[in-house]
Amino acid sequence: MRILEVQNVNKRFGGLQALNNVNLNVNKGDVHAIIGPNGAGKSTLLNCFVGRLEPDTGSVMFDGQSLLGKKPHQINQTGVSRVFQTPEIFTDLTVLENVMIPAFAKRDGAYKLNPFARVAQESEIRDAAEEVLRDLGMADKRNQIASEMSRGDKRRLEMAMCLVQEPKLLLLDEPTAGMSRSDTNNTIDLLKHIGETRGITKVVIEHDMHVVFSLADTISVLAQGTVIVEDKPENIKGHPKVREAYLGEAQV
């Protein structure tokens, strides 16, 4: 079953055709990787899913409804969470508060005026947040201020903030960018762990082939704004079009 369907999406920035008739289908439960050389349009495509950019033409359907024309918070409310290239967290707040906020947003919707409720009495929200933190091995850090954590922990926290919402679709924008080998491996393990415990569909944008081939069920290769190949990992490796996109035509 398809959960995300992207059809004929075009996006132009001035003279640059960033996305050129992109078609992409993500199956429910899959880890779908989008790879491609620098400037291929990977981040542009992702930004079209979350409401940061609006495609010029084409359609983006998620779970039976169109995502076009929706604002980021509306798209999140339909069940799409995203992880940023550099972790975006609430740096001044504690780890537990960081995870409770998305849980509130999931329960209360985009806006709720409840100035006389007490955070201290929201035990359901707290329990949900603590459970996710425990699952990701951060339970002992719950009262730490988020800005004081290591980069790997910030990534883990951001992941917890997405998971507490139990999204249908999780978008990851280069989750291992700028990480050391060991941090990268930790992130891979974390994503595998999430995959085993929760059946969340994931779309991963990634540079690192090691990460892609150890996680993905399906890979789409994007080059110059177009999906050139969409296939299983084992068929991607030796594909001539992929080689051409990455190494250039001079090789042919």
Binding site: N76, E88, F90, L93, A105, D108, P115, F116
Partner: protein, 399 residues
Amino acid sequence: MTDTKRNDVILLLVVAFFALFAPIILNPFPSDGPLAQFNAGYPDLMQRFVIYGIFAIGFNILFGLTGYLSFGHAAFLGVGSYSAVWMFKLLSMNIIPAIVLGVLISGLFALVIGFISLRRSGIYFSILTLAFAQMSYNLAYSVFTPITNGETGLQILLSDPRILDAPTGTAQPVTSLFGLEMRDTFLAFEYLGRDFQFTYGYYVCAIILLISFYISMRIFRSPFGTMLRAVKTNQNRLSYTGVNTRPYTLTAFVISGMYAGLAGALLACMDPLAGAERMQWTASGEVVLMTILGGAGTLLGPVLGAGFIKYFENILSRINDNVLEAWFAFMPDGMSDFFVVIVHPFVGKGWHLTLGLMFMAVVIFLPGGLMDGAKRIIDWVSGKNRASKRGAKAPAPAE
């Protein structure tokens, strides 16, 4: 978490204690002694502490929680005052309708100004609010003269219609709460040379301050308050978390505008006149100073900051050259003149200079305001205690 609840109750009780016993606590010096001018326990000044405290508490809900720095909150203070005085003119000298109307009308103004200004953030938001406040000031000063009485300011007159309690006789009507006149002293006594005065007006303000403080405390501890702090920290993440930030910031803006209107209405209740200068940008700047000086984002800070600024404004501005000469009279002639000349620019009309220096010192050395200072002292004292306890347990070094 029950711990924070207990701490909140203690904090509320401490504020209540100081608010209710202020007429005694703020009068530590004998009224005919040399230090009498440092007393602050007279009704007029205490009312100003409390009213500006309310103003700053409200401002802190916007600035302290969401980080949106408004430079136009004096507009709401002015709107509150004008509305209250109109209620005195048209309806009755009872302060309740005046306060209610002041809060409602300023809330309405805040809704409109906030709706437009909150389309931008950071410096652009500040400039927009400043522009709105200056517009309000100029309109009140000239264009809306029929409503605001321009330069002279809006006052109550014997010829006012006042539907509920039309004036009888020739005495100037006074503001009251169901017959309790605001300026009335219900208790006054002298003890050890100190004069203590208790007026209804001050206690009305003090009780409203307590209610305002309690509401602000509840907002700080609510999921709503948590969202506002999240707005301050990372708005981008918040919108990708499914939260629509605009209505949250607008609500905070309206709440703080209503607090400002409440403060403005109370000013009019204590002294029933309203002038355009209440809306000027210096008044907006003052509440920013109060909040930052006391500690933005803390519960108690804004109240402390308001008290601090209003105290020094009053005390310093009353010290003139005669007072200075009396202080330095014990010195040889030339020397006392010299000291009077040195101190002169910092007191009397020059009190802003002293306040500016104090503000600079606080911002440079205590970026978290007075609350930061208090916390450092507490940490230092408790750290010292812990260290001395540890020292006592440690085996004595062999000699």
